[in-house]
Symmetry: C2
Subunit: 386 residues, 2 copies
């Protein structure tokens, strides 16, 4: 029985536990809101505080990158933390992320780090409009972002950003990264794993669709080999540089046949949830295998699979469950508008069948809760029947 | 959150819980040895006694058929028990099982129920040698069975059986069912589900191989349609007669193109474990869907899949985990000779690939622990490459 402690007690720790139990792994979760170690699926069971959790664990990992630095240091001192705190911090700070990309010579959007008004002015001369400004820390899912289309917005945006930086309440100073907006063809991500022996396995590239800055649908299907090789080589470069252990996700903008790194997540990732039904081994199991020193499981695509996030809803019509090859994954969370409550995985024996089923699913699910699913499904069907 | 109580706290309840969590089902298990309701995966968490468990549950089900009758009655009185106690008892008493088969006009081996020496003599005249005598209650995995090849064994076998009956310590009187031994071609089983709405879905027939009376390997692959239809119609007849709700397994002897029922198990079944990786929806999820009134999930074969039981071992070489499409399922049990400790599921894109991987697996696993795997794998490869 391998004892694993996860920093964070959300759905990712939950799904790690469900994937780990068949491997006889005992996964516990540290809830940063209550400062208690809990059962990841039945959090009413409390096992103690962080120090006790660290002492009991054989391996410690994280389900999110915004873990307070003192907690990361405490875990690192135990020599059980995988990946390293350095890798986790890179996922939580765009400045470090950009520095890593530069060091590894990995293609990404032209950018400029801003701390002062002077930097801001410099960014406007170095970069071409439109520019997106993103907060360096905690800037995900559309929060802490500003888009500038015309220089007339400069004063207003700067004022807003300066306020945002001033209000930041973190041990690390907040900052801004200005990025030239890339007119990309689509957004894709690569999820992969590297284990303690340095072995690497990556899943096929996944195509991601967002609504309001939040992931809405991911589709995994056979991909162009050239593109896959390009993504895999970026994965190798970054994870080897970091001596990374665990699952890591890389979000890319695809521009023509080139991939530009958008973001790195040093953890299992929402765009990898399809692997629960669509791959030989799911990302949660592979993360556990990686950090526990086991061989990685095959990451091959079994069938084309789409993942649909359930946002702000705590039920779907039973009719949806009757669709062939549909699986539902609830996170047992209290209902809240826009909250990630669960996801659906839908498979097809080929992309045509998947597209057909996605359209059936879109017809069953309420439009209010899944506003862009029908249009995505229609477009996808059109694309795969060409 | 649907609250389910399972009678029995073994690996089947455990796997039901792991399949139920993504559906937001709260599965608890009643451990008949300790008389406590426990967490099926973390049994150190105790929730109370049976009465409390019954009161809290919305649905009650069973993971084994040898539940004491008073417990079944107590659960049935709550109107929450699915399947019914009648159906569970049939699985635990060969006399009831044979009566059901007769009532439904379902083909099975010629047999005779024995209570007295006169019955025994009568059985010998009615049936042709060889005959197998099986205890009516608790007679599985090779216990309580006698094989007669010659009438010279009659006195000895009768004496042994009479002692066995006399020693029985159950509320229901023990008995013996004599069955004419069938020279069958192979053993197959059908696992299927019927939900509260009377909807039925069955998995493809699985081929089973035993060693020492215990299931060793099950293989699910595309089957002859005629045979599948025959098995499905038996499933329909039996479950409709019982107004059955849940997963039920039927073991058959295949003789030429005819299926004779050997045994019925009113529960999820070892020969259905392959569905965790090889089918659209696994048997554990379909059992929960069935008893909770949800639509059944598709039971289609995704890929040819073999299940290999791990008996009496608490580890396998890491090398096995490196095989593509191999999943391991441990039950977190204390090691004991011959005990079902876990199982391996292995898939292939076609039967040839599955056979190849089975041979690779057999070469990795220790022969002492898996004595018949190599010969099975070799024969299987020969068969599928013809």
């Amino acid at each position: 029985m391998k004892k694993v402690l996860v920093l964070g007690a959300g759905q990712l720790a939950r799904m790690m536990d469900l994937a780990g139990s068949p491997l006889n792994m005992d996964v516990k979760a540290f809830d940063v809101r209550t400062n208690k170690v809990v059962h990841p699926v039945a959090p009413e069971h409390i096992y103690g505080n962080l120090a006790e959790g660290i002492a009991e664990a054989e391996v410690i990992t994280a389900e999110f990158e915004h873990v307070a630095h003192d907690i990361l240091e405490q875990c690192e001192q135990s020599n059980k933390l995988k990946p390293t705190s350095q890798a986790i911090k890179i996922g939580g700070d765009r400045r470090l992320e950009k520095a890593l990309l530069r060091e590894c010579n990995v293609a990404n959007a032209k950018h400029y780090v801003i701390e002062t008004r002077e930097d801001f002015e410099q960014a406007l001369t170095e970069l071409t409009l439109p520019i997106i400004f993103k907060s360096a820390l905690e800037g995900y899912d559309g929060k802490g972002q500003w888009r500038m289309k015309s220089t007339e917005q400069a004063d207003e945006i700067w004022q807003d950003m300066a306020d945002f930086i001033a209000q930041a309440n973190s041990s690390v100073p907040q900052g801004i990264v200005a990025e030239q907006m890339v007119p990309f063809d689509r957004e894709v991500s690569l999820v992969g794993a590297r284990n303690t022996h340095g072995e690497i396995e990556v899943y096929p590239l996944t195509e991601n669709h967002h609504a309001g800055g939040i992931l809405s649908v991911s589709v995994a299907a056979p991909v162009e080999q050239e593109l896959q090789i390009q993504a895999a080589s970026v994965f190798k470069a970054l994870t080897e540089k970091l001596n990374y252990v665990g699952v890591l996700a890389i979000e890319f903008f695809q521009v023509g046949d080139q991939l530009l790194v958008n973001e790195i997540a040093p953890r299992v990732h929402n765009s990898g949830h399809w692997t629960q039904q669509g791959a030989d081994t799911c990302q949660f199991e592979n993360h556990l295998r990686a950090i526990c020193g086991l061989p990685l499981g095959s990451t091959k695509l079994v069938r084309p699979t789409a993942m649909v996030n359930i946002l702000g809803e705590d039920s779907v019509p039973n009719e949806a469950l009757a669709l062939p090859s549909l699986s539902i994954h609830w996170y047992d969370k209290e209902k809240r508008a826009g909250r990630k409550m669960g996801h659906l995985n839908l498979c097809g024996n080929d992309e045509q069948e998947l597209a057909q089923r996605l359209n059936q699913l879109a017809a069953i699910l309420p439009t209010e809760a899944f506003p862009d699913l029908a249009s995505f499904a229609a477009k996808y069907q059109e694309r795969v029947t060409q």
